[in-house]
């Protein structure tokens, strides 16, 4: 018993993973008093007016989420804003204000930091978001950029992860696996010059604010989240919050020609990238089958693809393919630890 106690006390984050960690930390900090607290894409506060205030925070760390100097430094700033805007969008909200907290080595070249801030400023402006504050810290380690994003959503239009119902379909905007394919292609040293335009769009996610607002304001989305971990893991998140199961259809996952071509060149399966690549920042929506046509119309020209069905919780979460159904593991997702 003493020995197992010792082992327990030496547990690291690597042993329990990100979601095990979040569960343990939530048990310490408690549920909070927000209208919507920890566990959704953003917290929501009812401050007395007609809107909820939405608040989210997301950190990007050099060596984990980006590299220096190989990334264009403006892209680092743009991505940092974009992934947070995406969380606000996933609640049906509009981004409004950002605070920027950054930890930098005293030896970092000033021009690199200025490029990152130019990217932050450009991307914030593109989404009507004003930078209202922040903080600079020294670090002896990798550059870390933490973005706080505040947004608003009319109280009657907020969309949570928890509203999916048996009989709904699951749909995603855009295409999947773009960023994962870009990572693989760069790591393998593929010549991406012929695809310069695709590289530019795959490098910085385009949060789906307008599409999400349209779905929310028309009350078409029963549940919604933005795909950050990968479809497999994020379907698990949506199902856990909604207490439902799901069948994901492997043959209907939307993959772009460029991702297919990279997969062919590298001997990868595009379904794996679509399910587990992560960092898509497309919307995953649960909606009534009868609402799909209208939903497609209002998010056009952005495509909306039906990729599965919501089923009862006791049917679990499965992947349907040409050879039948198999369990779909959340672990196919990109893991933070």
């Amino acid at each position: 018993v003493a020995q197992s106690g010792d082992e327990q006390s030496r547990l690291t984050l690597r042993d329990i993973g990100e979601f095990g960690l979040i569960d343990r930390l939530m048990a310490i900090v408690g549920p909070g008093d927000a209208a919507i607290g920890i566990g959704d894409d953003a917290a929501a506060l009812g401050l007395g007016g007609p809107d909820y205030l939405l608040a989210t925070v997301d950190m990007m760390v050099e060596g984990v989420h980006f590299r220096l100097p190989s990334s264009p430094a403006t892209d680092i700033g743009r991505r940092a804003i974009a992934v947070n805007v995406s969380d606000i969008a996933a609640m049906g909200g509009e981004p409004r204000h950002a605070l920027i907290s950054i930890a930098v080595s005293p030896d970092l070249e000033l021009t690199v930091l200025e490029e990152i801030y130019q990217g932050l400023a450009d991307e914030a402006e593109q989404y009507g978001t004003s930078i209202i504050g922040g903080n600079t810290s020294r670090t002896t380690g990798p550059l870390a950029i933490d973005i706080v994003l505040l947004g608003t959503v009319p109280k009657g239009e907020i969309v949570r992860r928890s509203g999916a119902r048996t009989g709904d379909v699951l749909a995603v905007t855009g295409t999947l696996g773009e960023r994962a394919a870009l990572h693989l292609a760069r790591d393998a040293g593929l010549d991406l010059r012929p695809w310069r335009e695709w590289v530019g769009t795959a490098a910085v996610p385009r949060p789906r604010v307008a599409a999400a607002r349209a779905l929310a304001s028309r009350h078409l989305a029963h549940a919604m989240l933005d795909l950050s971990d990968g479809l497999a893991g994020d379907v698990h998140h949506l199902c856990a919050a909604s207490r439902v199961g799901a069948v994901v259809d492997a043959e209907h996952l939307p993959v772009s020609p460029q991702v297919n071509a990279i997969c062919r060149a590298l001997g990868e399966n595009p379904v794996d990238l679509a399910l587990g690549g992560g960092e898509d920042y497309e919307l995953l929506v649960a909606l009534a089958p009868t609402a799909v046509d209208l939903a497609r119309e209002i998010v056009a020209p952005l495509p909306l693809h039906v990729v599965g069905d919501v089923v009862d919780a006791d049917e679990g979460i499965t992947l349907a393919g040409p050879r039948g159904r198999q369990g779909l593991s959340a672990a196919q997702s990109w893991r933070h630890f």
Copy 2:
């Protein structure tokens, strides 16, 4: 010319310092659309109701702001909340909600992180602050904890840095140099066991929420900020925002018996610690001389010491001592870079 251009492009943060950096970054991100934006202790947003929403963010980095494992890990969490609560207090506000963003190595022991979160939760609870969200990231470097704090203040009671007027006095709550003395004593290996109680209080700042609220709601504070960089630097901040000068009286800086004793033991000058030690998290207030008695009454039993006078900007910022007046440099402050 080409050579000086090259030098320019290789400037690092070490060359320009934290405040030079902030100026450059502010020029990139612009002024924002908040009622009060970058440059005060917290940003303020008018959301339509009777209160401003206050928002501030502050990052603490292992090896810079704390050490592992030598700090008690709960103290790390408590300080992280406290320094942000202090920023909300300095605007005259009440802390309400926190989001916690943390970057951790996968090899960190889980118990250490749980202790930090216990400290975060305990300190948040002490100030009536609910933890409503957050984010966990992986890092290959030092542990970084970024706290977002949201608060509220009635619109008519907000206190800025910019309201000090010639003829005001400058006053500080509590005593100065406590944390700096603790750092020095620990670095020198002084035996602090006889002062265990003092060590406990010096290790975690006690943000002056109630005192600040009282001064703000009675409209006694013309300008206020919380002392984080050290009195010398923070007087410069207040004077810059208010476009005034100041005379700080070296003989009236409040220093505790413990700080005096540590200074005697180490051959340090307590005035230096009081001016430049940093991390005091006491309030610096500009108020009318006629308001001092009432202000003392309403912040009691917390002491309020008059430490100087606000003068015209063209008189500069000086330190008055037994041998006359001399220029008071902001550089006596603790520097982040």
